[in-house]
């Protein structure tokens, strides 16, 4: 054991250096740590060269089941700004980050966006959420677009020299997101009214549904701890049979078994439903792919849902031609 202690103490000095060096040099990019990819996307785009963003919860990770690694400690301890979603998406970590705000600047992006949204757009109080705000605000692109100003403001406070450029990028990005929203609206409008039901694994699409006109039915509810009950599945099966919706959807962060169970049960009852594809619910796609950006994630989700439910995807907006070009150029 003495040997092990010796080995451990030999490794010790490395941790002492993990302490944040206040790298306040105005020319250095801000060291930003973001919990989710959606928050990271916003701060990356608005921050531009002024921000060096790292993401804690990568593709396919349920924010709820995320486990930190030792490297995350370093990243957090060096961070000059910690961006997170808020509204309990990150569980108790969100509460800790909220208290941390006095020592390291933190930004609860979804909570700040919610302050600027008309109360009517905020989803709460329905039987889905009792008194708490649904954290999945990024589902509606026009709502998420309000985060551009918030991000620019925080970045401007940390690097006054960057304030103007960040505000500029924020305006551009907001315009792009509004164009994305209009594109999503136009695409969704092509889905026949009788087929506007979106059945997914869990309740991550309330904002998406409200913005683009879908009735959303998440099988599992919000907490992933209490898995889908038999009654949940039966209710969903009834809904599918009743509405005659042609497709249901799985999520990248959740096991597809419940959705597959619904499909099997529908077929047993003489109906038919296909699995319309994978949607990005609580996480985006891999970095370095189009779906690893917010725009690409919404494009994928809207496209998948609209096509599977019998609609037609609208023409890609000119405002986002640059985005499309960048990703298709990058593709082999």
């Amino acid at each position: 054991m003495a040997l092990a202690l010796l080995v451990a103490s030999a490794a010790w000095p490395t941790s002492a250096h993990a302490q944040a060096e206040p790298a306040e040099a105005a020319s250095q990019p801000i060291a930003v740590v973001a919990t989710t990819q959606m928050v990271a996307d916003m701060l990356t785009v608005v921050g531009g060269p002024c921000a060096q963003v790292t993401t804690l919860m990568g593709p396919g990770i349920d924010p709820h089941l995320y486990r930190a690694s030792a490297g995350d400690v370093d990243r957090l301890s060096r961070a000059e700004l910690i961006g997170y979603n808020g509204f309990d998406l990150e569980g108790q970590l969100g509460a800790v980050l909220a208290r941390l705000g006095q020592r390291i600047p933190t930004l609860a992006l979804a909570e700040r966006i919610a302050e600027g949204v008309q109360a009517a757009r905020l989803l709460e109080g329905e039987d889905e959420y009792e008194g708490e705000t649904d954290p999945h605000l990024w589902g509606a692109a026009d709502v998420w677009a309000l985060g551009t100003d918030v991000a620019a403001e925080v970045i401007g406070q940390l690097r006054p020299a960057c304030a103007e450029a960040a505000a500029e990028r924020a305006r551009d990005y907001a315009a792009q997101l509004d164009a994305l929203h209009d594109w999503a609206l136009a695409s969704a409008a092509s889905v026949p009214p009788t087929k506007r039901t979106l059945v997914t694994s869990h309740d991550a699409f309330a904002y998406f549904g409200a913005a683009y006109g879908f009735d959303v039915a998440g099988i599992e509810g919000i907490s992933t701890e209490s898995e889908a009950s038999i009654a949940d599945i039966r209710e969903t099966v009834e809904l599918v049979l009743e509405t005659g919706v042609p497709a249901i959807f799985v999520e990248t962060t959740i096991s597809p078994r419940t959705i597959e169970a619904v499909q099997a049960a529908v077929r047993d009852r003489g109906g038919d439903v296909t699995i319309g594809g994978e949607l990005f619910g609580d996480a985006m796609g891999d970095a370095g792919t189009p779906e690893g950006t917010y725009v690409g994630m919404i494009r994928h989700n809207v496209g998948t849902v609209v096509r599977a439910l019998g609609g037609e995807v609208a023409a890609w907006p000119d405002a986002l031609a640059g985005w499309k070009e960048r990703w298709e150029l990058d593709r082999p």
Binding site: S15, A70, Y129, E225
Partner: protein, 329 residues
Amino acid sequence: MSAAVAALQGWLDQPGVTIVLIGALVGIAASLLGAFLVLRRESMLSDAISHSILLGIVMVYLLTGTLDSPLHVVGASLAGLGTVWLTDLLVRSRRVKHDAAIGLVFPALFAAAVLLINVYARDVHLDTDAVLLGEIAFAWLDVVRVFELDVARSLATMLAITLVNLAFVLLLFKELKLATFDPGLATALGLRPVLVGYGLLGLVSVTAVGAFDAVGAILFVAFVIVPPTAAYLLTDRLERMLAYGCLIAIGSSLGGYALARAFDVSIGGAMASATGVFLLLALLLGRHGLVARAWRRRAPEAPPHVGMPAASAPQLDAKTPTSSDGGRA
């Protein structure tokens, strides 16, 4: 602020220092109690308690409607004690053995918690993670002011729990020892082994809740069971077993942190693995270890004893599981 306080503060401000200290404190608090659980063959109660905690949290949520309440800690501790009480009740019926009783009680309580979420709170982000942080990597982010120092909340909590556990073990050492090894004699001497047992398991529950918040479930269970088990392989004296358990816990915290940094993996997972390394070393190199056993095969083996008079020796032979269950009251 004096220079000493400033120096201490500078030291505590390093995440690594706070993380290792929290790990070591959880390890000491858990293995002090764990030694008795292992000797009483109740180690799996720690796992049972860590599952039942969810029921306590759900009940408090249903009563108060909030996830942000200190009452959750009380509720979780009570649920832990409830597990112990129900297990005891089943054992005293003499229809089921102790391990089976544990296995009957905690799944039932955990299932009740899941059903309650399903029925009353299916759309709230409700589980242990929502109330307890359970991630040692973030524990240093959450700071409270204690006297003149900014200390991680979990560090302060675990320090308090460790001191209480230490005081409990030191002050009631004789009672604990007798209640563990010879409950019959303890009763005859008026030492109330049942009460001592509840005190022990009550502290296990409180420690579980504190440790859950600081480091998460698996690391807590590992710290309760593995260091005392490894220590038991190194010595037959209870005092030394307690001390070795604490040292192994401290070593696991340090070694685990170094391991986690070296491979950029989960700190809690690495600390739990480190306890396993110590267990393996004890298994190979300890007094009753495989190497020693092979060595001693030439000479006749001395009967094992754990710091108690020979009268109770037959009950202590923990390596033959069938021999002592009948002796427990």
